[in-house]
């Protein structure tokens, strides 16, 4: 039926081995889908999409001036991760975020890693999101990255690699939750017999993290007052902000709802000013406080940074975490793991060349048609050159950009991402996928067993971003090991 003509081809396929055998952890899914025909499958998929539209599970496309709401296309075949694979992923992520957090503390205090010459100082000091204003601020519990979404991919051999880290305001957790809810409604039979970890604890865990990170000056027997700070209803991720706030049962506020008095933060309510202790902010550093960062920002709260500095309010994530999002700094994460933890990285980086190192640069410029070039501080699939697929003109344009400002570019060998059966017309075909797991750092580090699997819906495409033709899948982590 749907799998009749399925070809893993020359890629790592999540569901099938090269000879076409179903991998053990996919057996129950395969059995459940065996008798479903294309029409039934498509109808169910349409029902899910209609329910997303009605429920407002949408994002706004930036380049669309009408602010049109779109849904994130959803594919009903779940991505399944075996229990033993997840064990490694989880350990690797915990190791990575631990090191990144130590790095952030170090870089905003003693800068030992620079003094010990593990990272050249110019790379940190020239990072776009390095915040000099934030130097020497003590953050509650020394936690900088409360919420992290690191993007993982699998190469030809099925090895998990870290593609990038998102330490500012990683988004997408609401899709992880909504995808699971939708799949449960549509294919309840898929879940039977599979033994899938639940992801529904995410909002509760997130709230626990916020409460754990109450400000240093917080002294009350009650729980701290937490809010979610959004740029407003026109933001592309507003749905997610509202969704998470509702799930956690905390107010969703805009900058203009907050006011700083005497280095303390309050929200304006019908009962007067109410103290705010912890802010889950979904606004970038630049816009957070016009009295410190961009003076033209009206999204932020004047005085917030100094209230934070004074220890009267907590921010999740902290200020200045974006320095570790820089793709040049990414290059050094394995070194950080070694330096701070004395361990070898469990999840390796993708091999990366730095255009600012003369030897690497020569290699990059000589091989632009074979490499993927990325600018250091862009996300969402923008500012990228996919060498093997690029035109001559595009390659020359990047050559010029790299020569002008080598610090701003890195290059990687193209990775043929793993593929996954995905509905394409009348049957399943292999489509490239990645994985964004969500890591929460509070009293302990919790990796939500699941995540957002993004899938490039266009045949052969390697770009999974929602803004560029990507879709998503529900992501299952199995509770038990399945014998071969």
């Amino acid at each position: 039926m749907l799998f009749d003509n399925y070809q893993p081809e020359n890629f790592f396929d999540e569901m099938f081995t090269a000879d076409g055998t179903t991998r053990p952890h996919y057996r129950s899914v395969a059995a459940a889908l065996k008798d479903v025909d294309a029409t039934e499958f498509r109808n169910k998929q349409a029902a899910v999409e209609a329910s997303f539209m009605r429920g407002g599970v949408t994002f706004t496309v930036y380049s669309d001036s009408q602010g049109t709401e779109r849904i994130f296309p959803f594919d009903c075949v779940p991505r399944v991760i075996a229990a033993e694979e997840w064990e490694i992923v989880e350990k690797g992520l915990i190791q990575r975020i631990t090191a990144l957090n130590l790095f952030l503390h170090d870089i905003y205090h003693d800068q030992k890693i620079i003094k010990d010459r593990v990272i050249p100082p110019q790379y940190v000091l020239s990072a776009k999101h390095f915040r000099r204003e934030f130097m020497h601020i003590e953050v509650p519990k020394d936690i900088y990255v409360h919420i992290c979404g690191s993007d993982l991919i699998r190469d030809k051999d099925g090895r998990y690699l870290v593609l990038e880290d998102n330490l500012r305001c990683p988004s997408g957790a609401s899709y992880m939750l909504e995808n699971r809810a939708a799949l449960k409604r549509t294919f309840p039979e898929l879940f039977k017999a599979s033994g899938v970890h639940s992801v529904s604890n995410y909002p509760a865990e997130l709230l626990k993290v916020m409460q754990y990170c109450a400000p240093n000056n917080f002294k009350s027997n009650d729980a701290p007052n937490c809010v979610l700070l959004t740029p407003g209803v026109y933001n592309s991720a507003y749905f997610e902000h509202a969704f998470l706030a509702r799930q956690m049962g905390i107010p969703i506020v805009e900058g203009r709802d907050l006011v700083v008095r005497d280095f303390k933060v309050y929200m304006r309510t019908t009962a007067g000013l109410v103290r705010v202790d912890v802010i889950y902010r979904r606004i970038d550093d630049d816009f957070l406080d016009p009295s410190v960062f961009r003076p033209d920002s009206l999204l932020g709260v004047p005085g917030l940074v100094n209230a934070y500095r004074a220890g009267n309010v907590s921010l999740a994530n902290s200020i200045g975490t974006g320095v570790a999002d820089d793709k040049v700094v990414y290059y050094f994460v394995p070194h950080m793991i070694k330096y701070y933890l004395g361990e070898d990285p469990i999840l390796p980086n993708v091999d990366t060349y730095l255009a600012s190192e003369p030897q690497d640069c020569a290699h990059i410029l000589a091989n632009l048609d074979k490499l993927v070039v990325k600018s250091a501080n862009e996300a969402g699939g923008y500012g990228m050159l996919m060498g093997p697929w690029a035109s001559k003109a595009e390659i020359e344009e990047f050559r010029k950009l790299i020569e002008e400002n080598p610090r701003n570019f890195i290059a990687q060998n193209p990775i043929s991402l793993s593929r996954h059966p995905t509905l394409a017309g009348e049957q399943f075909e292999g489509r490239h996928i990645d994985l964004r797991p969500y890591i929460l750092y509070g009293e302990k580090i919790v990796v939500t067993p699941g995540g957002l699997t993004r899938v490039a819906l266009k045949k052969g495409s390697l770009v999974v971003n929602s803004s560029q033709g990507g879709g998503s899948k529900d992501t299952w982590v199995l509770r038990n090991k399945i014998p071969e």
Partner: protein, 357 residues
């Protein structure tokens, strides 16, 4: 009353589940007011178009006399004459229905209602949002021609229908929290104000020549006022006889069983304001509350005869002032939110530094 920072931290540490942001309260209040305003406007235009049908052929001057008061009652006369030369049915209808330049046009009101709803999209029910969204797309997809061609009554009925649907859905899907109180307060405030303006308009325009009082034209005009308030049938139930000026006044002001009468609206405002301020029924604590309470109490000891003797217009003007003052009181106490005017804000952010010499 402005809010000052609490001196004691613990005072301000409310249980956060109980708080409602001032901004949210304000958006709910304005959403409700704008939709109510739209409904009243739809009635007003519809009825006036209908009256003209009774007149048969009318001169340009009569036509103007007929429409100007409507423009005046919504306060947009000067904007109108910047856009149009002649006040006739077509121009006025288009102006009060579709022109975005007119801040009180139906289109502007419904857009504003939807815009306010959008700001609190996650705090209202999906059904409430959908109705406002539908109403918005309905009026966006219409224009003066389609309304004339399709029959103006059908069009304005549809607007009223959206408003009624919204109110019904609100009652049956919105949690009875503080937000509900702001929605209701806004609705009744707007309705009370519009009811007074409706009566005042008749007083102004159709100020009858002495010989006309009690005549057929006068009766027709008062009937139009009743129809504008959806009050013809209820009125008939009370006063089987002819439509009389004094009876209409009495009904529209004092009949507290009729949900569009002034008295009904004012009492609802009073009730919801008590709930919002958490003031026990019958008590008046702040200056704003006391002033409104006094006014309401005086009204209870007034009758239609007193009002007519004193002058209907004078009375209505006073009522409008009281309504507006009470609305302002609640707004500044609970909802006021510094408006964000992007350009002005950027301009006002200044830097102070000194050069080193």
């Amino acid at each position: 009353m402005s809010k000052t920072p609490p001196t004691q931290e613990e005072v301000a540490r409310h249980k956060q589940t109980n708080v409602m942001l001032s901004r949210v309260a304000g958006s709910l209040y304005w959403m409700s007011r704008y939709l109510e305003r739209a409904e009243n406007l739809a009635r007003l235009v519809d009825v006036n178009l209908q009256i003209l049908l009774d007149f048969g052929q009318v001169s340009d001057e009569t036509m103007k006399e007929h429409w100007i008061p409507i423009l005046r009652s919504t306060g947009d006369e000067s904007t109108f004459f910047q856009l149009y030369e002649v006040a006739d049915s077509e121009s006025v209808m288009e102006f009060v229905t579709f022109r975005p330049e007119n801040p009180n046009s139906l289109l502007s009101c419904i857009s504003s209602a939807r815009e306010n709803a959008r700001q609190v999209r996650d705090q209202i029910s999906s059904e409430m949002w959908e109705v406002l969204n539908d109403a918005y797309h309905f009026i966006k997809n219409s224009n003066a021609e389609t309304v004339w061609d399709g029959g103006s009554s059908t069009f304005y009925d549809q607007i009223k229908y959206y408003s009624h649907l919204f109110q019904g859905i609100t009652v049956s899907t919105f949690s009875r929290n503080e937000g509900f109180e702001f929605i209701q307060f806004g609705k009744y405030l707007e309705r009370a104000d519009k009811t007074t303006r409706l009566m005042d308009m008749k007083y102004h325009i159709l100020l009858p020549k002495v010989t006309d009082v009690g005549g057929a034209v006068d009766a027709a005009q008062w009937q139009a006022v009743l129809r504008s308030a959806s009050a013809v049938e209820p009125y008939r139930r009370f006063y089987v006889a002819d439509i009389l000026f004094s009876k209409v006044i009495e009904f529209l002001i004092f009949e507290d069983t009729f949900p569009r009468s002034l008295m009904f609206c004012l009492e609802q405002m009073d009730d919801f304001a008590h709930l919002i301020a958490d003031t026990p029924a019958g008590e008046y604590r702040s200056d704003g509350e006391r002033r409104f309470g006094k006014f309401l109490n005086n009204l209870h000891f007034t009758n239609a005869k007193d009002i007519i003797q004193r002058g209907v217009h004078e009375f209505l003007t006073e009522v409008q002032i009281e309504i507006s003052a009470f609305g302002e009181h609640l707004y500044t106490t609970f909802m006021y939110h510094p408006p964000v005017d992007m350009q002005a804000e950027i301009l006002f952010h200044q830097q102070q530094e000194q050069q080193q010499q």
